[in-house]
Symmetry: C2
Subunit: 307 residues, 2 copies
């Protein structure tokens, strides 16, 4: 049996992503000891009941002590507190990483607190579901999804390579890019989509002319799709928007410009403009299916619901 990539792995935060890392790392034999730390005693107890690790700690420093790799899986706004808490416990040569959906802010928050001799390799596995907490995780979450590494300039390439091997072992494809570019890419592929999903669900809930009951009953016309990502963890997403403000506002500006133009096409009956856009967008989905990032099954392969 091969040596595990990280004999001791510390997971700080054990929600959907943290617990999925635990499942996937065990599946891969990528570690022999998972030390888990989380903020509340209830969640820590639940992680233990689920058998997600080998040791359980309320103090993140205790979990990080002696670990070969420490992964923070917390809302991005909590990154600095984690870095401060674990810094004194880190052993030389340890790799510190995270899973945050925003990278420049996480680097600004964590890097200043990490001691010399420790490798900081921020990461972002682009995967998830609308569920949260330690019960929501599963080993296959990262299979064939992309994990983006955004090492700051000057990071030891060997540490980047080792963390890349770890994510590959967990089932992911690995790509490296600059933190700045990551934040732009994710603003359009993830953050703005979440924002407009949250927004339309809010708009629908607040109408006076259409009842909430009607919105729910007739949601199969398209609306229900948006409610999935609008059911994602509120704390995580609040932090994403607060910490990737510039890129989100930039992409949102583009979205608004384009929407204003569509709105005008509707008002003035410009069917050709509508038809052209609606034809162009089909190709993007075909590309996503071809890239292995989406099922070709109609309606996501969603099964009929029961009543």
């Amino acid at each position: 049996m091969a040596e595990p990539i990280f004999p001791r792995l510390a997971l700080i935060g054990i929600g959907l992503i943290g617990s999925s890392i635990a499942h996937a790392a065990r599946r891969a034999g990528a570690t022999s000891h998972i030390a888990i730390s989380t903020r509340t005693p209830q969640t820590l107890k639940r992680a233990e009941e689920l058998g997600l690790g080998q040791s359980y700690h309320l103090d993140p420093a205790e979990a990080a002590y002696g670990a070969d790799c420490i992964i923070a899986s917390v809302p991005v706004g909590a990154s600095e507190a984690v870095a401060k808490a674990i810094a004194p416990a880190l052993k030389p040569g340890a790799i510190v990483s995270d899973v945050g959906s925003v990278k420049q802010s996480v680097i600004r928050q964590m890097a200043p607190h990490l001691p010399a001799g420790v490798h900081f390799v921020p990461a972002h596995p682009v995967a998830g579901t609308e569920y949260s907490g330690p019960d929501a995780g599963f080993a296959a979450l990262f299979d064939r999804r992309w994990c983006i590494l955004t090492p700051p300039e000057g990071t030891d390439p060997a540490a980047v390579e080792t963390l890349g091997k770890f994510w590959t072992a967990l089932g992911a494809n690995v790509e490296t890019m600059s933190p700045n570019h990551h934040d732009l890419v994710l603003a359009i592929t993830s953050h703005v989509p979440h924002l407009i999903a949250y927004n339309i669900v809010g708009t629908a809930a607040d109408l006076e002319t259409v009842t909430q009951s009607e919105v729910m009953k007739f949601s199969a016309g398209g609306f229900r799709d948006f409610t999935r990502i609008a059911a994602s963890d509120p704390t995580m997403w609040r932090d994403v928007f607060l910490h990737n403000r510039e890129a989100v506002l930039e992409m949102l500006g583009r979205f608004n410009e384009d929407l204003a133009s569509l709105q005008r096409a509707i008002r003035w009956g410009d069917g050709e403009a509508l038809f052209n856009l609606f034809t162009r967008t089909r190709a993007i989905r075909r590309g996503i299916v071809a890239a292995g990032q989406e099922t070709a099954a109609p309606d996501f392969g969603r099964q009929p619901t029961k009543t």
Copy 2:
């Protein structure tokens, strides 16, 4: 064996919805003869190869001749042409219906051409997938979905009841509402969601700072969900927006107002406003799942993709 609800059923248009009606009506034993008409010889031939009906006609009047119920399943902009074409062939007491996602316009287009003694009961089954054409249909499409009937004032209640029975036999729940209210409800539950999905896919495709390849690779962060409905039939959706202009613009105005407020919350770092909205929207999804209109399986129960 019970008498079929409509011994002869004419389907004008045999795309996703028309072909699903054919499958579901056969499954239910709701008809003994399906007469199919569609605009192009190729599609008509394909419908025949698939065995969707008992007779096949390029002339809609031929299909409608002697039919107990005639259902137009065409882009809403083609409704008037269908009404004109079938009018001379309609037998007294026949029920004429449709499946359009807009009701006031369809009524304005069709009602003036239909002869006295024929019952016009517009309908809208709120169901679909992102696929189009006669191969895309399946019998279970309407199961537990809502079919909305919008009879104009003065419509014979017996005809409304008969059409309701037909849709119930096809697996749907049936509700009646005014055409005006229908168009408002669908603007928020279907039309505006499609519009913003088309829009964001277009925005993402046009960026210079992020490549299309990156958009596709990292789409699992949320974006890919939007590409499904943005892959819907371009002609059908062009017509929806052109024919439900007022309700769409009204709902879009509300969406834009709310989005401007969210944008401001991001710019000014108002985490509380974001958190409150993101918490409220979770409840709507729970309601949709409870209403039997959505699966509770994480990520729509979407299966992992292969590469």
